[in-house]
Subunit: 431 residues, 2 copies
Amino acid sequence: MCPAIRRTRVSDTVLAFPPPPDTLLPLELEGDMHLLSAKGFLAGGVSAGIKVSGKKDVGLLIAETYATAAAAFTTNKVFAAPIKVGRKHIRGGVLKGVVLNSGNANACTGKQGLRDANRMCTLAAQLTQSDADLFLPSSTGIIGHLLPMDNVFAGIRAAAADMGDSQEHALAFTDCILTTDTVRKFAAATLRIGGKKVTITGICKGAGMIGPRMNVPQATMLGYLLTDAAIPSKTLRELLARTVDRSFNCVTIDNHMSTNDTAVLMASAESGAKVANRAARDKFLKALDEVTQSLARQIAADGEGATKIFTVRVRAATSDADARKIARAIADSALVKCAIHGNDPNWGRIVSAAGMCGAKFSPDKSKLTLQGAVVYRRGTPVVFDAAKVSASLKSKEVIADLHCGAGTGEATVWTCDFSKEYVTINADYHT
Amino acid sequence: MCPAIRRTRVSDTVLAFPPPPDTLLPLELEGDMHLLSAKGFLAGGVSAGIKVSGKKDVGLLIAETYATAAAAFTTNKVFAAPIKVGRKHIRGGVLKGVVLNSGNANACTGKQGLRDANRMCTLAAQLTQSDADLFLPSSTGIIGHLLPMDNVFAGIRAAAADMGDSQEHALAFTDCILTTDTVRKFAAATLRIGGKKVTITGICKGAGMIGPRMNVPQATMLGYLLTDAAIPSKTLRELLARTVDRSFNCVTIDNHMSTNDTAVLMASAESGAKVANRAARDKFLKALDEVTQSLARQIAADGEGATKIFTVRVRAATSDADARKIARAIADSALVKCAIHGNDPNWGRIVSAAGMCGAKFSPDKSKLTLQGAVVYRRGTPVVFDAAKVSASLKSKEVIADLHCGAGTGEATVWTCDFSKEYVTINADYHT
C-alpha cells in the first residue's frame, strides 16, 4: 500500500510526486505539474490579515463552469460551522467551488459562526455569478473565535479579482490553507481513459490535530482533489469514500480528530474523458489512490516536530478492521514514537501496543520486523544486533512490519516520530 | 471523586496521605504510618544487580501466616509471564505473599520466561516454608529480555534473610518496585469495624506505560494493598474489582496499557475485625477507595516528565461509561496535555477531544470550566480573561470540569501534562 513517491509510470498512468521524505524539503514541483494542471479550474489566494504572521489566509478555487463533486467531513461530534454548511451544499453533487480561510477554524462559534460561513459562500457566489449553495466553505486554525469578517470579505474579493490557472495561482491557493505546515503538499497523476488524457491533482494541509476518520457524506486535515475527467456525482462519492479510507484516514500525527477535517473531489469534465464503466472507474481509482496516499504520507512527514516518517504495516491479521486497529494503536503510542525518535529498537512497546487495542492478536503467532530486521517472533525475543538495527532507524523513513499469523487482514498507517519540538509547538501555540 | 490528600478524618476513618501534588516531593511518611502498619505482614527489599543503577530491585512481601487475597491483572493480550502465573495462583483466594523484581518485565520471553516466573515462586516458598502456588510473582522493567536468574535468586534469598515489619522494611520493599518513578507512592487509612481498629495500607509504582484497564481476575502499574481485617476471598475480589475501576483504571500517563499491570489486595485478619456484612463492606470499600484513589493521583503526579497533575471531571453525561470515554479522550490528547503544560486555556482542544471519542456528546448542551472559570457554554465561546485563566493554570493541579447537560453519567480521570522531559525520558530509555 506504500505508494511510489517519485515520478513513475504505471501502464499509461504517470505519477508526479514531491521528493521522498528523506529530503523533507519544500516542494519543488516536477516539470509543469501543479494543482491547476487539471483543466477547467481557476484559483486565487491572498493575505487578508487573519494570520498574525501576514501569510496568505484566504483562498478561492472554482470550476470555470461547474464541477460534479463529492466531499468527506470529520466525524467529530464537535464540528465547525463550515462543516455544517458544507454537508448541506454538497448534497446536490455539484459545486461551483471552494471558499476558505486559515488562521481561524470557525468552530465552536455558535449561530454567528454559522451565519459567517454562509456569508463566505454568498460573497463567493456573487463574485462568480453563481449560487451560494454551490460553494463549500472551509476554515482551519484556532477553535472558538469568531471570524474577523471584514478581513475575510476583503480577502475573498481580492482572491476573486486575481484568479487564474497558472502555477503561481496554484501555489497561492496552496499556501493559503497552511497552518503549522512547514512544506506544501502536492501530488498528481495523469492517465488515459478512452484514449483521452486525464489529470488528477491534489493538495492538502495538516501537521497537527491529525487523526482523521472521515465519512462520506461526512477531515484539520484539508484536502482538495481536482480532475478534468467527466464523472457523475454518485461515482465521485464512491471513489472519494474508498480513497479517503485508505489514505487520509490512515494518517495520524496526534490521534486528535479535528472539528474541521474536509476532503473534496471536484471533476470538471474538461478533458472530455468519461469515467463511465467499471474498468475506467478502477483505473481512475488506482491513480486517485496514488495521489491521496502520497498526500497522506506528506502529512505524516510534515507532522508537528517530525524528524522522520514512521510507516506501520500490519499483515495477516484476522480482518482488515483488526489490522487497522493494531496499526493505529502502534502509530498512536507516544512510547513507540519516542523510541522511533531515539532510534531505539524497543520492540516491546510495539508488540504491547498491538495487544492493548481490542483487536484479536496472538503474540505467539506474530512476527515483528523493524527496517527489515526480525526482532520478535512467536512470543519470544530474537537475538539481533541492537546497534545495527538502531543505526538502521536513523533514517528519514522507518518501517515496522507486524505479521500477525492469523488471517488475511491488512492495513498501513502513516505517522511520524515524537520529538521535543512537538511539545514546543503545542505548548506555545497560544490562544 | 477527588479524594482528600492530607490526613483527614471521615467519621472514624483516618486517612494518611503524602503531601498534596503541589509539592511533588519524595514522600515523607506522616507519623508512624507505612505499608506494614497493616498488621500480620513482613517485607524485605534488596539490590540484586538487575538494575544497572544499583538501586533496589528484588522484594518479598509475605503474610506472617496466610492472607486471603484478590488480584487484578492487565487486559493486554500481550501479557508477561508473571501475569500468567499470577492468574493461576490467585484462583484459590489465598496467598502467602508476593515475590517481585524490577528492571526487567519478564514479558515476551516465551517458555523460559514462564519457567523463570515459576522458579521465583518456588524459591520464595522454600524460604518461607510455604507452597509455590501461594506466591504471586510480579516483574516490571524492559520487555523482551530473559531474567538474570542468578541475580534474582540471590536477591530473593537476601530479601528473605532480612524481612521485618518496620518502616525501614516497608520502604525497602516500596523502593524495589520503582522504575522511572521519582517518588514513593503510599496511602493508608484506619477505620473501626465492630469496635476494632482496621488498617488499610497501599503502595504502588508507575510513571510511564500507564493506561491500565485491569480486570479481576485478570495493571506496568503495580499496586500492593494490605489490610489486617478478616475478609473472605470472594468479598476481597468484589472490593478489589470495584476500587480498581475507580482508581487505577482512571489514571493515564500515556494511554499505553502495560504487559505487567497488577494490583493485589491481601487481608491478614490480624486485627480480628471481620468484614462480614454489607455495612462493614461499604465502610471498608469507602476507605479502600480513598487509599487507591490517592495512589492513582500519586501516579498521575509522578508521570514521566510531569510538572503538574491534570484532573478531568466529566459530569451529566448520558452514562458513566460515556463519561469515562470522554474523560479518557481528553486526558489522552497530546494536544490538550501540551496546552496544559504551556498554561494555555486552549479549550477548543478539550471540547474537540470530547466530540471525537464515540461517546454521546452535544456541544450545544455542554459547559467547560477550567480552574473554576467557565470558558465554553452551549456551543459558543464565553468571553473570559485569558491572561487570568492562563495564570490560574500555573498550578500544580489543573482541574477541567466538563458538564455535558445530558444525563447523570460521571467520571474522573487523572493524568499529567506533557513536557519535553517526557520525550527525553522515552527516547533515551534504551533497550
